[in-house]
Amino acid sequence: MRHFDRDIEHLKELLLRMGAMVEDSINESIRALLERDTAVADRVIAADNAIDQMELEIDQHTIELIAKMQPAAIDLRFVAAAMKITPELERIADLAVDVCERATELNREPPLKPLIDIPQLARIAQDMVRQALDAFVRRDAVLARQVIARDDEVDILTERSFRELLTYMLEDSRNISRAIRLTFIGKYFERIADSATNICEMVVFLAEGKVIKHSNEGA
């Protein structure tokens, strides 16, 4: 094994550790929302700092790799992918924190309605992140493209949930603050799915050297 391979392995481990932390945050944010558990929400918010530190550590490691090893071809694509994936993971964690903040606010009032679309949306977004990380580990462009294709599903659910919440707002103005908070939450999960899509675009670049971002392919 080349010295460089060990550095690449280490970078991969760091990314996966960060990925696991981020997946945890998503899980727990969904639990905080569905079980109306503010203590869980607080834990997610508190855990975000460790994820931010992880981002800094990975950045540092990636820049050192470029400076010392001057990676080429697949190694270069791996390092470039790592640099693009890390901020996506950090953003996902921030969105999980946002979900928890809105959930905490909602927990201070009685529930507006039973949640149907949002939990489904949350599960898909969570799934997409998990599969995006799997695709990254396996350098699997096929799986990455499948994940990207699910983004349409997410858009439909977000829209549907928004329309439904709108009817609550129109019905009774006392519903507005809770309905808006739920709308935000729907939007946060949609953005988490978008970040998963971005990660998958980098996986395709990693595996095939092809840039599919801002193109029709895979979208």
Partner: protein, 273 residues
């Protein structure tokens, strides 16, 4: 400066323009094979080298890249028992045709080697040497062309006050640029460089690389290098050779970001063997 000198300069400048448009084929190679006696060193090389671009040859030691670059100005001819098969053309002229004047060819296709090899003469005489052989006698013309060549090789400012000193007193990097000036003096169209910076320190290397970058607007440059990053920095196209075969030839960006062949990838990422 006299009026005559300026005229000479203008005449020379126009004469030194290779008319081939940048990017069009300057050197075409078809099924080219090369042998040292029974030893078959190049196998069916087919490629086109574009004008006024930098083409880098990379590959492990013994892969044939130096033999190939030397085939382009028939430097291998001096090795007994060597022979070529296939075609290698410069501006559509077959370089291995019996009618080829090898001396004229080497004026058109200059070469710079790994180890700088200035003549044990003055700086001035090193550059003027080829011109004198070419029949230039007029001192003013010689002065003009020597200065111009040294300017082009980015050496003039460093040596203009020591033109009479021995070339061997220059630093390694300066000697190498002197050899480039000497090659440029006879007005070539193609410049072959066989590891031109491998014996130089990083600063001298950087100067050579800058020079290559500047020269490519007027010359077609082919460079053999062991330094992968150098190939990535200076070249427009890269050819990867292994065991006498051309494995992959593409734009340098493609070779270094997303090569097609597994062998190329293994080589440039250092996963070889």
């Amino acid at each position: 400066m006299t009026v005559e000198t300026r005229e000479t300069r203008a005449a020379r400048a126009s004469a030194s323009q290779d008319e081939t448009p940048p990017g069009s084929t300057k050197i075409a190679v078809r099924d080219f094979n090369f042998y040292y006696g029974d030893h078959h060193v190049l196998h069916d090389i087919t490629m086109e080298i574009p004008a006024k671009e930098v083409t880098a040859f990379i590959g492990p030691s013994g892969c044939g890249k130096s033999t190939f670059i030397r085939s382009i100005n028939r430097m291998n001819d001096i090795i007994p028992g060597s022979r070529a098969r296939g075609t290698l053309t410069l501006d559509e002229q077959d370089l291995y045709a019996p009618s080829i004047d090898v001396v004229a060819l080497r004026r058109k296709v200059g070469m710079v080697f790994q180890k700088s090899n200035p003549f044990p003469k003055s700086v001035y005489e090193n550059v003027a040497y080829g011109l004198r052989i070419g029949g230039v006698r007029d001192r003013r013309v010689l002065d003009e062309l020597v200065e111009q060549s040294l300017q082009r090789a980015a050496l003039w400012d460093e040596v203009k006050d020591r033109m009479g000193s021995s070339a061997l007193a220059l630093s390694g990097g300066q000697q190498q640029r002197l050899c480039i000036a000497r090659a440029l003096a006879v007005d070539p169209e193609v410049l072959l460089m066989d590891e031109p910076a491998s014996a130089l320190d990083p600063i001298a290397t950087q100067k050579i690389e800058e020079l290559i970058y500047e020269l490519k607007s007027n010359y077609t440059i082919v460079i053999v290098t062991h330094n992968m990053q150098q190939a990535a920095r200076v070249s427009d196209r890269t050819a990867f050779f292994m065991m006498g075969k051309l494995v992959e030839y593409d734009e340098t960006n493609t070779i270094f970001m997303n090569p097609t062949e597994k062998l190329t990838e293994d080589y440039i990422t250092g996963r070889f063997g």
